[in-house]
Amino acid sequence: MTINETQDEIIEEFELFDDWEGKYEYIIDLGKKLAPFKEEFKTEDHIIKGCQSRVWLHAELNGDKVVFTADSDAIIVKGLISMLVKVLSGHTPEEIIQADLYFMERVGLQQHLAQTRSNGLASMLKQMKTYALAFSALKN
């Protein structure tokens, strides 16, 4: 599935919810189901500090694809992370660098990427792209 196909799938899933509660229930559920993050990666190197919550991000190259794993101490952020990982993980560095992430806005969660949220999510997205850039540079 391409990055945009995954984004479109998420947008479709969110169309099922007609109120905020259903939407957040789903995000919380995604957070709970996020694949466990290796404890050995919960280090200062992997932490993205926000004013509110902490996010850990790890990236590695599997063949020519970048695989992301992540975690947070706040469950809603964890759910949002899970979506970002689902969209971007398993793609080549070039695809990730060029990705235009429109799904957050389309499902009405754009405010969580705003700087005022100080939750590390915007920084996490930036960090994901930075990893992709670094892997791309390594390859060339």
């Binding site: 957040y24 229930e25 509110q52 101490d73 469950i75």
Partner: protein
């Protein structure tokens, strides 16, 4: 609505009508604004004072001889006298307008502190301080080789006054504490802190950012040397505040910034500085916000501080009882005397998640460390959820908070 407040001489509906911002929906629900310790909303009188100034008599003050300048100057100085009365300061010359509490503290650190402290001297702060009353002293200490010590915080959120006694010595030159804590609500025994500091020859700065809208402030009764507060936390505009300082100290201190207004005569050889308070007010001041600050003080005075604190205590007690009896709640800060701040953690749920779900229900609270990381470290937590109440909040709104928290628990279960 509960009527128990009628005994406190408080017409809540009329007060709410004075704050136009409250009449709106957030995420489809009527706004419940419980982030008052961060900033309070503004009554029509304050908004109009700002508008009237810019529409009617905006002019630079003090030097103009035209009518608008005279009117602007008169209102500017009337506001200074209103601050003097608000703090019961001996004279208006001891009131310096600042951009807020933070600037007031920095001004004292950088003038009094820099001029009078020597390597080896000590500054005592407390474990309840906002970063604004920690960092300026650390910066000064780093520059001059001073030591900063902190009065520890007890389990109930009060200061450990016994340890304070043992921290005081002839090396103590400045004691800087808040009147009330922004993260826990604790009202500190500042009068006792000041008397003990004076006994060893130290001067005391009190950070009044949180106390000024809730408690009677009498700088003469406290015998405090410096008292700083911000207008925006007492229904006034942002970007303006005041610093009270005892005349003898202010006169002995060098100026903070150089520029216009703070000088008497300037030649390239020598500049003589202006008298108080202008010595500390370089440049064109924030005239509009100073004028509107008076409108905020007038508004508070018309309601009366005792009515305000009685009503807010009523809100705090109700909220403490209702939130406190929920399963898994731990209230952080249970001092005997508190301003209307309720800080808590909900077992197993991150404060940010609580904030997001409450926001979805139109309820504005603050979550995080509240710029008081040492307080969070003291209680071994990363942050709290904080609901802080003002004169326009109601019992009904607290019920909404409790219902909102139950919904958080249900969603997170």
């Amino acid at each position: 609505m509960m009527t128990t407040t009628s005994a406190i001489n408080f017409d809540i509906e009329r007060i709410r009508a004075d704050f136009p911002i409250l009449d709106q929906e957030v995420n489809g629900r009527k706004l419940v604004y419980f982030d008052n310790a961060a900033t309070t909303q503004k009554p029509v009188a304050v908004i109009e004072a700002l508008m009237n100034y810019y529409r009617g008599y905006n002019a630079n003050i003090h030097r103009g001889i035209h009518t608008l300048a005279e009117k602007a100057t008169a209102d500017f100085e009337a506001s200074r006298r209103a601050v003097r009365d608000f703090l019961n300061a001996p004279s208006a010359e001891e009131i310096i307008f600042t951009s807020g509490t933070t600037m007031g503290i920095n001004l004292v650190a950088q003038t009094y502190g820099r001029h009078f402290l020597r390597a080896g001297d000590e500054i005592i702060i407390s474990g309840l301080e906002h970063h604004s009353n920690i960092v300026p002293w650390q910066m000064l200490a780093g520059e001059k080789g001073l030591t900063v010590r902190a009065i520890p915080v007890l389990e109930n959120g009060e200061l450990d006054m016994e340890t304070y006694d043992s921290l005081l010595s002839d090396r103590t030159k400045i004691v800087a504490v808040n009147h009330a804590s922004n993260s826990l609500g604790t009202v500190n025994p500042v009068k006792e802190i000041i008397a003990k500091a004076h006994a060893v020859g130290a001067v005391v700065l009190v950070d009044g950012a949180q106390a000024s809208s809730h408690l009677e402030i009498d700088v003469q009764d406290l015998d405090v040397d410096f008292y700083a507060f911000s207008a925006h936390k007492l229904y006034g505009p942002t970007g303006i505040g005041a610093l009270y300082g005892k005349r003898a100290l202010l006169e002995a201190m060098p100026p903070y910034m150089g520029g216009g207004e703070m000088i008497k005569e300037v030649t390239f050889e020598k500049t003589t500085f202006n008298d108080l308070p202008y010595k500390f007010e370089a440049g064109t001041p924030n005239i509009a916000d100073v004028v509107a600050l008076k409108a905020a003080l007038d508004y508070i005075n018309a309601i009366g501080k005792s009515n305000i604190s009685a009503y807010e205590t009523h809100l705090l007690n109700y909220a403490t009882e209702q939130v406190g009896q929920m399963d898994g709640i731990r209230i952080i800060g249970q001092a005997k005397e508190k301003i209307s701040v309720l800080s808590f953690v909900l077992e197993g749920i991150h404060h940010q998640d609580i904030g997001i779900i409450l926001d979805q229900q139109g309820i504005a609270v603050r979550t995080g460390h509240h710029c008081t990381q040492p307080v969070m470290d003291r209680f071994c937590i990363l942050g709290t959820t904080r609901a802080s109440f003002a004169i326009y909040n109601t019992i009904e709104e607290i019920d909404k908070l409790v219902a909102g928290l139950h919904r958080v628990k249900k969603l997170m279960a």
